[in-house]
Every structure is written in C-alpha cells, then in structure tokens.
Symmetry: C2
Subunit: 339 residues, 2 copies
Amino acid sequence: MLEERRLAVLRAIVEDYVSTHEPVGSKALVERHSLGVSPATIRNDMAALEEEGYIAQPHTSAGRVPTDLGYRLFVDRLSGVKPLTPPERRAIHQFLDDAVDLDDVMVRTVRLLAQLTRQVALVQYPSLSRSSVRHVEVVTLSTTRLIILIITDSGRVEQRIVEVPRPVSDVQLGDVRSRLVVAIANKPFSSVPDALTDFDVAFAPDDQLLARLVAAAVLEAVTERSDERVVLGGTAHLARYGESFPLAIQPVLEALEEQVVLLRLLGEASSLQAVTVRIGHENPVEGLEATSVITARYARGDRPAASLGIVGPTHMDYPGTMGAVHAVAQYVSRILDEQ
Amino acid sequence: MLEERRLAVLRAIVEDYVSTHEPVGSKALVERHSLGVSPATIRNDMAALEEEGYIAQPHTSAGRVPTDLGYRLFVDRLSGVKPLTPPERRAIHQFLDDAVDLDDVMVRTVRLLAQLTRQVALVQYPSLSRSSVRHVEVVTLSTTRLIILIITDSGRVEQRIVEVPRPVSDVQLGDVRSRLVVAIANKPFSSVPDALTDFDVAFAPDDQLLARLVAAAVLEAVTERSDERVVLGGTAHLARYGESFPLAIQPVLEALEEQVVLLRLLGEASSLQAVTVRIGHENPVEGLEATSVITARYARGDRPAASLGIVGPTHMDYPGTMGAVHAVAQYVSRILDEQ
DNA sequence: GTTGGCACTCGAAGTCCGTGAGTGCCAAGT
DNA sequence: ACTTGGCACTCACGGACTTCGAGTGCCAAC
C-alpha cells in the first residue's frame, strides 16, 4: 500500500517533469494528480524516494527532479509502451510504402522516426553478414582499374575498386568473372571466405596476381562489415531545448558525427521484440550522459537485420517514444519483408 | 587618401570583430592597428561608414559591427584569399590520398573541410550529367524483381529496382541485357534518352513490357539527376557560438536537413576558378539569413563536376576560410583526375 | 582635415530586497 | 502506524536601483 503510493508519486513526478520541464513540488503534484492524500504525505514519500536515489533536488527548496535511476524505475515498472494512434499508423504506412529502394527506405525511416518522436533519429542499414551473394560483376573502368559489384539478395550493392598493375584483357576479365560467379554466387556471405581460399591457384600463372587482387577485394567487401552504416536525421530537434536545460548540444552533435559512436549506440540492442532504453549515464558514450537512447531491432523475414532508434534528453516522453520506435521497427520489418 | 583610410578602418573593424566577436570601438581600433591617427578621426570615418551602410551599432554607445554590406566590401576589395600553410596542405594530401572509392572521397572531403574551416561543410557528388555509361547490368533479385546497375566512367554505380508483373526467364533477361548494353554502353548520359527511344520495339511482343519497364528505369536513373546528392558534416561547429551570437542554430539545422536547400546553396556557384561567397541576406535560403556560404567548384579532368563549400556565421574569417575551400576544391579535382 | 576635450548615452554588472514555492519537522489526529 | 495541518526556514528568481565605463557625437582649436 505504502510502497505502491510511493511508486505512484514517482510516476507522477516523472510525468509532470517531462511535460513541464520544471522541478515538481508536493503541492502541485497533489493538485494535478488525484492521489487522495495531502501534500505533507507526499513530502514524506518524496523524502523516501530521494533517500533511495530516485529523485533529487536541484537545490534546497526547489521541487524534485527524477534521477537516471528514477527514470529507469519508471521505464521498467511504471510505464507501458504507448501504442500509436491510428492516424499515426496510417502516416507511417503511407510514408514508407512509397519507398522505391533500400536507400530510400532508410532515408524515409529516419525522417519518419525523427518526425514522430521529435528527437534525433538513427537507422542502421540491414546487416550484410546474414545476406548472401546474388550476383557478382567485374567491370573495367580503365585499363588498370576494375570495379567489382556484389549484389546481395536484399538488393544492396557493394562495390570495390581494384587497381591492377598491368592492363587486363577481356579474356582475362571474363575468366575471372566466370570463376568468381561459380565460386560465390548464391552463397551466404559467411561462406565466402572459405569459397575464395586458393581462388588464384586455378588460374594461369600470369593471371594469379589479378585473381588474388580481385579475391581480396571481394573478401574485404564481404567481411568488412561495411554494412555498419547509420543514417542520421532530425538533429534540429536538439536545438529545441532552449539552453534552459542541462543538454549542451555541442558534445551531442560531436558524438553523433562519429559513425563508430552511432554503431555503439545501436549495436547493443538486446532482444528482437523488446525496445531497449538506455538512460543517461547508462549510456556507454562520452558526451551523451544527459541523453537517453531508445532502440529496437528490425528484421528481414525471420532474421534480425539491424537496429534503429532515437537519441533525446533524459527527460523525454518514454512511453510515447518507445511506442513510436517499436512501431517504426515493426513497419520497417514488414516493408523489407515484402520486397 | 581619405577614402583609403576609411577602407582601412573597415578592414580593421571586420578583422577585429571576427576575432573578438565584440563590437569594436574607435579607441580599441587605434590601439590594435597602427593607423597613425587619433580615435577622434576614426570616429569621423566610422560615422561616414555607418552612413554608407557598411557598419552599424547594436545600440547607441556601443562599438560598431560590420553589416552584410560591410562584409561584402571586405571580401570584394579588402581581403585576399589566404593560402594554406604547408602543414595544412600536407594534411589535405594525406587525408585525401587514402580514399578508396568515390564515396570515401566524398566523406573524407567533408570531414577535412569541416575540420580545416571549423564550420559546417557541404560536398556535392560529382555530376552525372556529363558522365557516360561504362557498363549496364541487369540481375534478378527474385522472380519478379530485377535490379539494374549502371556503372559510370567515374566509378559511380547507379541502381534501380524494377518490379515486373510476370517472372522473367534467364533467356529473356539475357536478351534484355545484351540489347541494353549495345544500346547505351559507352554512351554519354545525355545521349541515353535518344538511344532508348523505341527500345522495346525490337523485342518479341511478349517481352516488350519487360523491355519498356527496364528502359524506363534506366532513363529515370540517368535523367533524374540523382547525382544531386550532398554530404554534410561538422554540424557540431554550429553549437560553438555560445548562444551569445545572433545565430539561432535551430533554423540553420533545419535548413541543412533539406537536400533541396543544400543543393540550392551549392548550386549557384559561378565560375570554376573563383570561390563564391554569399553573405547573410544575399543567401537565397530561409533560415540562413545570419550565415554566409562559401563555395567553390571542383572538376574532374577538364570539366566541372560539382561544388563544395561551407556554411558559417557571417562573422567568420573570410580570407582563411576561402583559402581552405579553394584548396580543398583543387585537391579534390586532382584526386578525381588521378582515378 | 585632424585632434583633444567634453558632455552624454546606455548596456552590463553588481547589490539589495521582497516574494513565494518548496522543504523538513513536529505534534496532534485518526 | 500513517496521515495531516501547522510552522519556521531556505533560497532561487525577479525587480528596482546603482555604479561603471566604453563608446559616441559635437565642437572649438590646431
């Protein structure tokens, strides 16, 4: 009973603080929520909550503000995931259905997510590591430059440019191409390294160097996890917090410019269904101590593909944002599946 | 004599304001620059300059600040383009020489430019309109989905996905592919539309729909100026102006999220050699009234390819920034040329 | 055309309250 | 054993007031 009300108080504090962005006091709390007790009682609960580390006062004689720990408890036990409204769902549909290719899906998704959540959005390209090779093509750009194209079953195209020391004849090229196709076409990426070991030995001695170079480039394209590309959008939302809040945007913008950082933010998402929330200091990235990251995985068919999510201030609308991230991940999965 | 000193005063004001970001007064001016006259004289000149609209006072009894017009005069007549230091040149070299493909060149360039100028950097992909088709490839992704790849002579790969109503046989596909190659391989983009008119009539009636769909996709890829892609970087620099300056970053970030806007910023650059500077309100984009844009064209071989540049507050170091933009454009031209 | 002098302006920064939201604690009430 | 009203206390915030000084325009003298 007692414990229960305390949690209700915490929930109310989080909700009020998120909507007003101002420290919330006992009196205001009683007025805005029908808690059925007096401010004095609330004060006792607040003192307890503060003791336990869930809330804090910016200074004596100010209202309370949730701590990271408070948000954590709120997310874990006090809030659900708010489903989207039908109009929102419809908007997602319309927006994503018009996408023409994979790049377009990614760009549209990031825009959509930024718009829905009014936060900075991140979308990772589907992982290559579970893709397979649909087709390989080798084309000359000039006499000593080749471009190798690897088309995956997901419609993604990886390219690598190879410089060769000596001009390549059409015959040589044809030879390499056909052997390459035989070796790796329709094989999963994971088996390509095996398939290409000793790729060069079958060639005439003069062509072995060429074969080696091509094989190396293919290998690089397949293993180098260049799939780890992240699209970013909605950074303007960062500027919305009119300096009044403890969110210095410079370090955040800086962090977001690093692909590596973006990958780390998205990378550690857990299970497929759930939405992952990382709050404030829980976040492994320097410069983002005052932000929370909400991510979800999306899938292609039955296998997880990659993650998407948002970055925003810790005092955000968790239920709503989690709902949006979840919904978008689902829809992206569906879109990819259709293709 | 008189006229000359007035210009010297304007130059001094711009230089001081750019370095201190504070309105500059007559006394400070005399102290920091050896103008050889007294503050009172400077005041007279300042009054004249203000009369003519080159400088303004934020409020009575404050120093002067250059107006957009003042910066314009400064750029046109008072400042040169500051060449880079040898170490800087070396850094550019090293940084760009490691690029492995076109995407990489673009990404590295934008980083480099942002770092050198400490401003937001923009780099446009080389124009496709002057490219020619190196090779075309058609590959099936599933029975009813094809992917068309167009490899340009600059090593860029354009892709389009085509949905076809009926499954396509290997024979049909081979037919389409070979005819497509005959029709457009090694032709400049500009002549592709002509080359593809009536592409379908040579096919068997049953295959004409397929041919039409493929031709349409190729045409779209070639004409849709999808070359108009801009890479953006260094947005964190926007946050450097600690709120103290009349640069609200939100509208700027918003503007920079629109590809269309970026293209407009880069699009109207003038001649190949010169660096274009657009100051404050001269800028055609809403939200960027308080920023200046400095752009330069880069080339591939002898033909202009596209533009790159930076966006920053009007009170920036014009000579240095112009130097950096110019130098980077040159180096990018060189790199592209080598490839 | 230049200069020193001088009165004037006015934003920035500091100081000094008054106000009020908010707190913690306590004793009384249920 | 909680809850509650009462009460003294704290302290950030905002307004009013003042001081300070950089900077100005103007003018008479050089």
